[in-house]
């Protein structure tokens, strides 16, 4: 194990989800220009849109990406700092052949990443990403001649067009009439320049914190309850009707009720699902294997099916397309509204939850209370990437499944019964094995988590 710890600490992940690394260590200009040329070779020739979140390293990453794409003859359009969903919308609604998002999502500030999307604005799927990786590894890139290098263009209106597309999908009049006071924590991320004004345009009174995109992240830009203490205090102090927290690039949304409680990541998808199914959008609900069973109950209430996928934005987006879903999303707080876009979209999620608040005319805590109660426990075990899959395979061969009614091996191992489940999977973004459990009773969820964490640790 100790011999492997050096390998484990090398912070680079080249996966189908993109390339992710720590600036100053693994995410070097050389890696960036190589990946950008690989993508230009894969997607080009044509127009490629590029956006970034507010990470300071984005200023270094962006010119590397521009250079690599231009060298393959692609025409770069720089969208500047905007939510990734705005990039995906802009790609999908233009003649662009692809997009590159410079963002490490919810990862801490020292990380950055490239995420690649195709001409419809959806991230590359596993097979497409593998093709891209093959080009990257072969390093045989298209090299455009000197007179075939298009100048870099800019489009700073993509963020505004994205907001316009969201406004068109919610009941703006009802939200305005509700006279809501909303507290928002933008984590100084990509939504900082957009959400406060957007909320005002909907007629909300806004109390914003961490809304300066030039400043560093005030906390890890992961809108999970442990990072929401500042927002909770703000909601209480300002007497706001609700609080919302963005991650760095506008994927995930965290919630705080008017009483200053942070109910947890899973509630975001639950409330959005209640809203969209309640207004009668057609189609099933798509979510991943690690997301709460509360979603099943909400869907059942509305007479809808739930489609479960592996964990990852692209699996959600593709299933949402294939099943013509009403809504899709993940328990981590990222929700897709197919009528707008096949992207995780925290501003759209915010707008839809405001729509629900306005429609029901009840406090946020009452909406939260409607959601079926489960306890979800998330654990992680450090594991070198070269061991992770064999550990899972060993575990599968030695499964104690007496309690499970269903075994799903689409993404790691998921064992489910009517009142509980455990999901053990390899992280796509970090050298970790994740163990997630859920049950009606808190003690049961904890016991399940303890048991399977111990089993994984024994195999390591």
């Amino acid at each position: 194990m100790s011999a492997l710890s050096g390998e484990m600490s090398r912070p680079l992940k080249i996966t189908i989800a993109g390339v992710r690394g720590v600036v100053g260590q693994t995410l070097t200009p050389d890696l960036l220009v190589n990946f950008s040329q690989a993508f230009g070779t894969y997607a080009g020739p044509g127009r490629v849109l590029v956006s970034r979140d507010t990470r300071s390293s984005g200023r270094m990453v962006a010119p590397c990406v521009f250079s690599g794409l231009t060298a393959t003859g692609c025409e770069v359009v720089d969208l500047g700092v905007c939510p990734t969903a705005a990039l995906q919308l802009a790609v999908g609604r233009s003649d662009a052949v692809g997009g590159v998002a410079i963002t490490a999502g919810h990862n801490p500030a020292q990380w950055n990443a490239l995420k690649f999307c195709r001409d419809d604005g959806i991230y590359l799927n596993a097979r497409q990403a593998e093709e891209l990786l093959n080009i990257y590894h072969q390093k045989e890139f298209t090299k455009a001649a000197w007179d075939k290098l298009p100048p870099v263009g800019t489009d700073r209106a993509a963020g505004e067009r994205h907001l316009e597309a969201i406004r068109a999908e919610v009941d703006v009049d009802a939200i305005g009439a509700a006279g809501l006071k909303i507290a928002v924590d933008c984590a100084n991320g990509a939504c900082a320049s957009f959400t406060p004004d957007f909320l005002r345009s909907l007629g909300c009174e806004v109390v914003a914190i961490n809304d300066d995109p030039e400043l560093p992240f005030p906390h890890d830009p992961l809108p999970t309850p442990s990072n929401l203490s500042q927002l909770r205090a703000l909601v209480a102090a300002a007497g706001a009707d609700a609080g919302f927290a963005h991650d760095a690039d506008g994927d995930r949304l965290g919630l705080v009720t008017e009483s200053g409680e942070a109910p947890g990541d899973e509630y975001t998808l639950c409330l959005a699902t209640e809203m969209v199914l309640g207004r009668g959008d057609k189609g099933p609900v798509v979510t991943n294997l690690s997301t709460t069973m509360a979603v099943d109950e909400i869907a059942r209430k509305h007479g809808r099916d739930v489609i479960r996928t592996g964990v990852g934005q692209v699996f959600i987006a593709e299933a949402a397309v294939n099943y013509e879903a009403a809504i899709a999303g993940e328990g981590s707080g990222g929700v897709v509204f197919p009528r707008i876009n096949y992207a995780h979209d925290s501003i759209a999620t915010l707008a839809h939850i405001l729509g629900l608040l306005a429609e029901r005319e009840v406090p946020m805590s009452a909406l939260v209370a409607e959601v079926p109660k489960y306890t979800i426990v998330k654990r992680e075990i450090a594991c070198p990437p070269q061991r992770a899959y064999s550990v899972l395979e060993d575990l599968r061969q030695d499964l104690e499944v007496s309690w499970a009614e269903e075994i799903n091996l689409d993404d790691g191992i998921k064992l489910s019964a009517s009142d509980r489940w455990v999901h053990i999977r390899v992280s796509m973004t970090e050298p970790k094995i994740r163990v997630i459990t859920e049950a009606r009773a808190q003690g049961l969820a904890m016991d399940l988590a303890d048991k399977y964490v111990r089993r994984v640790e024994r195999l390591l």
Partner: protein, 454 residues
């Protein structure tokens, strides 16, 4: 195979063909090496208008920021403007993105240090060692540099040039000038400078788009269009620039390209007449015309190895009154130690105005001279043997071995053979009273070199 042959990494920078050898990987590598070499700080970047310049700029920017350097982009401008900006902004270094007189498919990086002078041979070798060792110092996310833009660099440069000349004298003469900027970096700025000095200006090839309508090297054979335009407009003088504004050639009112060697001769004459003290400095391959200037003004003439930085360092060390290179590069130390077409045009027009003299009249003040420049493919591995053969061949004559072999003949004739700094060739240059003699001296050396294995 062309791609394999097109990369040149040497003490004068890194140069390659876009789409072949000048890749984003190469550029970020050099940017990280330079940032590591400087150990952080501020770097000014300027570029000529080649279409590949933006791709190179972006790669450089990413590489430099990752090493903690901040970048100031001075945009498309003459190379000397970037050098001025390094000093103006108190920067720690500068990079010119330009392949100078090379065709449009090429691009290159030239590195300069905090005093706005290009890296000398020793510094460039240090940079190359950093590059080749590849142990670049990359900074964490909260110690990366930032990017700024300086749109005032060209105007500051123009102002300095304008304030250094007698504008009234030039305006009184109101010369009609045709300027051919080869659609290069100096295109709009040169026209503006000439107008501000009171010239009537006809500009050709003045769109800075990097699509060169002629070979960008301002040699007489490339200046047919300019010569025609000078005659057609009845102009007093024509100026031809290279792509990045550091080499200038002159066309007379008669429409004759008088040769780029006269640019320095004229400018040196003007500088030596202006200031009381100091020697003149040029390289070993430059025409003897400048010797006449030195004699006329009672100045010492110092010769260095070929290369702007070599001339500049000698100028600084000796407090030179002026200097430059015979390829049309003029260095006016009152402005900055860089080859500068804007400064050269100002000096030459000022002298013509003050002395009420045409180009042809000025040229006739010099003795008749002919210079022949030739080249021979010569891989680096064979140069030493060739130089040795040449030295032996000319045994008994006066020989200078500062760089390659320079041999002096009767009547002021000379021949200089030296390996190029930038290409695997042997350059052979000879000068004599007439072209036949110069040609013969050149051919003799070429034959010796060929026999020695070139």
């Amino acid at each position: 195979m062309a791609g394999m042959q097109s990369l040149k990494i040497g003490v004068s920078g890194v140069r390659g063909i876009v789409g072949q050898s000048l890749t984003p990987q190469l550029v970020v590598g050099f940017a990280e090496a330079f940032g590591t070499y400087l150990d952080g700080g501020l770097v000014v970047i300027g570029r000529d208008p080649r279409p590949s310049g933006e791709m190179v700029l972006n790669a450089l920017t990413g590489g430099l920021l990752s090493t903690g350097c901040s970048v100031i982009d001075v945009g498309i401008c003459p190379t000397p403007t970037m050098q001025h900006a390094v000093v103006d902004l108190g920067a720690d270094g500068g990079i010119a993105i330009t392949a100078s007189h090379h065709p449009a498919a090429w691009n290159a990086l030239k590195f300069c240090r905090e005093d706005g002078v290009f890296l000398n041979q020793y510094q460039a070798e240090e940079l190359l060692n950093v590059y080749h060792q590849g142990a670049f110092v990359l900074r964490p996310y909260d110690a990366l540099g930032r990017v700024g833009v300086d749109e005032g660099a060209v105007n500051r440069h123009l102002s300095k040039v304008l304030s250094s000349v007698d504008r009234e004298a030039i305006a009184a003469m109101a010369p009609k000038v045709v300027i051919d900027s080869v659609n290069g970096a100096g295109a709009d700025f040169a026209e503006g400078l000439l107008q501000k000095m009171g010239c009537e200006v006809i500009a050709i090839n003045d769109v800075p788009n990097g699509r060169f309508p002629r070979e960008p090297e301002p040699l007489p054979e490339n200046l047919g269009q300019l010569c025609d335009a000078v005659r057609e407009h009845g102009a007093d003088i024509g100026f031809a620039q290279d792509a990045d504004g550091d080499r200038l050639a002159i066309v007379s009112a008669e429409g004759e390209a008088i040769g780029e060697e006269f640019t320095l001769a004229f400018a040196a004459d003007a500088m030596a007449a202006r200031d009381a003290e100091g020697p003149l400095v040029t390289n070993l391959s430059t025409s003897r015309l400048i010797e006449e200037v030195a004699e006329r003004h009672g100045r010492t003439l110092l010769r260095t190895k070929v290369g702007e930085v070599n001339v500049v360092e000698r100028m600084i060390a000796t407090g030179a009154v002026g200097g430059g290179e015979g390829n049309g590069g003029v260095i006016d130390p009152k402005l900055h130690y860089c080859r500068d077409n804007l400064a050269a045009m100002a000096l030459i027009l000022q002298a013509m105005a003050q002395r009420d003299m045409t180009v042809e009249q000025w040229r006739r003040q010099f003795r008749t001279s002919a210079i022949v420049k030739d080249r021979l493919d010569c891989p680096a591995g064979k140069t030493q043997r060739v130089i040795l053969a040449l030295r032996r061949h000319y045994e008994g004559r006066e020989i200078d071995l500062t760089e390659g072999v320079k041999v002096f003949f009767d009547g002021g004739a000379w021949m200089h053979a030296r390996p190029s700094n930038t290409e695997p060739i042997l350059r052979v240059i000879a000068e004599a009273d007439d072209r036949e003699t110069a040609r013969r001296l050149c051919d003799e050396a070429l034959q010796v070199a060929a026999e020695a294995g070139c």
